[in-house]
Amino acid sequence: MAVPILKQGPYLIASIQSALTDTDVLQLRDDVMAQVTRHRSRGIIVDVTSLDVMDSFVSRSLRSIAQMTRLRGAETVIVGIQPEVAFAMVQLGMSFEDVQTALDLEEGLALLQAADLGP
């Protein structure tokens, strides 16, 4: 199932609605890259609130999205990682050190806006 991507001002919001297959995740990556280019977006929020599992493939793909968009001058923030999912990711050995995260959509937008107003 495709992940809807909404444009909100200079930002894109990708809101994951249900469990993702690997194909869906790769599609999301390609869609985000295409839309960042089309809209000249400065930031992307990927909302994973509804994901009950983030295995190594999903984690690696989200990290790729963050790295790829950064190379295009846009910051990605992953929001809504559930507590159990965070626990499983740490046990799995999946680190998100180089990826920005925030509690929820609101915090994620605040983070992007702060970065935009920054030095």
């Binding site: 469990a19 993702l20 297959t21 690997d22 194909t23 009950d52 599992v53 983030m54 295995d55 190594s56 493939f57 690696r60 559930q82 507590p83 159990e84 999912v85 626990f87 499983a88 046990q91 799995l92 050995g93 999946m94």
Partner: protein, 138 residues
């Protein structure tokens, strides 16, 4: 109580990987497993089922409920394939080692997420991974 039926899920596509972890979680819910443990189990299954589609193309996952000597129940997952097998099991269980282009966290990561983990592999014949997550209550 009726004997717990085993459920077999054919793994041939990435959608089957999602199905396998959802079925296992449903069984974990039936055993009143805490939600964190459900997530650890589902994540572990995702890793080992993906190994099937990545390396062997097809195989299956069998999920059932097992009991230990003290009557404690757990979810057992057996993932089998007849793929290329693993030449060096010790390395395959080491963080960061991969022959599939991933992060090399699949097998070692899955092992950390469950209570019991066994792997049996014969090069040229296939791989079987068995894992168990115990419910905390009897």
């Amino acid at each position: 109580m009726a004997p717990d039926a085993a459920e077999r899920i054919a793994i041939e596509s990435d959608a089957d990987v999602v199905t396998a972890r959802q079925r296992a979680r449903a069984l974990a819910v039936e055993l009143d497993m805490p939600s964190t443990d459900q997530t650890l189990l589902a994540t572990a299954i995702s890793e080992i089922a993906r190994n099937i589609t990545t390396y062997a193309e097809r195989g299956d996952v069998v999920i059932d409920v097992v009991r230990d000597g003290r009557g404690r129940r757990g979810v057992r997952v057996v993932a089998r394939d007849e793929g290329p097998g693993i030449e060096d099991l010790e390395r395959a269980l080491t963080d960061g080692y991969t022959t599939g282009g991933g992060l090399g966290l699949g097998l070692p990561g899955a092992r950390r997420l469950v209570d019991e983990f066994e792997i049996d592999s014969t090069p040229g014949q296939g791989t079987t991974v068995t894992l168990i997550k115990w419910a905390r209550r009897g």
